[in-house]
Symmetry: C2
Subunit: 245 residues, 2 copies
């Protein structure tokens, strides 16, 4: 399929959306690795027999979804999970002064297990399927602020448990580098809960104190869930910021 001028697919959709889909598939298939440059607009236009403007609309749409990053004069790059991206897309906790702080982490547990029903449902696994669980205590400015439980499929992330204390702060960079898994987006459910005895001990607060519980499901390039994450945050000195635009 080189010419898309009159596609053979059952396509009533605009050409640029078809091109976006095609390019996204090639990207998700790993043809271009994170950080690499895609072929130029003119090269892609030649390859598919469409105009440069059509490729441009497709790439602009992909850039809007953070699949690629466009650089004038340099080219179009496959999006990487940098610390900045983690910060801007996935980190919403701010200090009382309104400044964003990145956490440091202490891994309390990191081992294999079998998927419980909630994990299986969230991650699209069979119940009892092998998983890796990470349990971390995270500090903001030396203050223990956040307890975090992460669950991923052990088939998708073989040997993840071996990282143990060496797990980096930003695990999405690790997912991408070691496992070719790119977290594209996520959804978070927020609730207020009461600290149980363990929460209280780890966070140095009273049992029953209010905590902000965040349940995140992270989604990869193929729109499949890849990580389930539950966080419990002490919001005495921090808050979760959400911009409604």
């Amino acid at each position: 399929m080189t010419s898309a001028g009159n596609a053979n697919a059952p396509a009533f959709r605009p050409l640029y959306l078809q091109m976006k889909e095609t390019l996204t598939q090639r990207l998700a298939a790993g043809e271009w690795l994170p950080g690499a440059l895609l072929p130029s607009e003119t090269a892609l236009a030649r390859e598919y027999g469409v105009s440069q403007g059509t490729i441009r609309k497709a790439l602009d749409a992909m850039a809007a979804e953070r699949l690629v990053v466009r650089h004038q004069g340099r080219g179009t790059e496959v999006a990487r999970h940098t610390t900045e991206r983690s910060l801007f897309q996935f980190w919403h906790l701010y200090g009382s002064d309104g400044r964003r702080q990145l956490p440091t982490s202490r891994v309390l547990e990191c081992r294999r297990g079998r998927a419980r029903s909630a994990e299986a449902e969230t991650l699209n696994l069979e119940r009892g399927a092998p998983v890796v669980r990470i349990f971390r205590l995270r500090y903001l400015g030396n203050r223990p602020t956040l307890l975090e439980w992460i669950t991923v499929s052990a088939e998708r992330f073989p040997g993840l448990e071996r990282f143990g204390q060496q797990l980096p702060n930003a695990v999405y960079e690790l997912y991408q580098r070691e496992y070719r898994v790119t977290v594209q987006r996520a959804s978070e459910e927020l609730r207020a809960v009461a600290a149980d005895a363990d929460d209280a001990r780890h966070l140095g607060i009273e049992k029953g104190a209010p905590l902000l519980e965040i349940r995140r499901t992270a989604i990869d390039l193929e729109n499949q869930p890849v990580e389930m994450r539950v966080s419990r945050c002490d919001t005495a000195h921090h808050h979760y910021l959400n911009e409604l635009v």
Copy 2:
């Protein structure tokens, strides 16, 4: 300023961004009322002496910010505050089944007062300036779920207090219809707090129970704060959903 070909402004910015700015100013000034149709792309292009494509990029950018809504075959319409918009942009509470429910409301208080320091700071007012405060209890499916305190400037919203029990559920529609104030975006700070005695009484829960507190600042078309809103939600049967894209 009819020809923008070689602008006299200290402008190194792209033409389409200058056009977007100009059109946004005309819109914010009230030249086109909510629901009205803007002049067509060709008419605007003629008026400013630029190509239709440039106007198109400006309007597309405005549509991305929800300032206007584009309809093929009909024209470009100034965005209105409909119930759908309130729902999709400003309402983030979902039931445990994942369904979005709109609240019903009971106004507990609606009267004038003088800005306290937090209100004055948030709303860019002098401390002690006249304000209107609304205090509502909101129900989701017959269950009292949410206490809400709203503060706005009494100068900007003269006579708002007279609505009392007749306040509609979606006050942003009222702001736009009665006061020509369009809420374009907002930011929300979320924290977990413990219910005080009043919270507990109104929501039918235990004192000290965890509540999700949402502090919202609403921003108008001119990027000025127009409303401060604090909500305390019982998240036993609901949660706040945030999509990280």
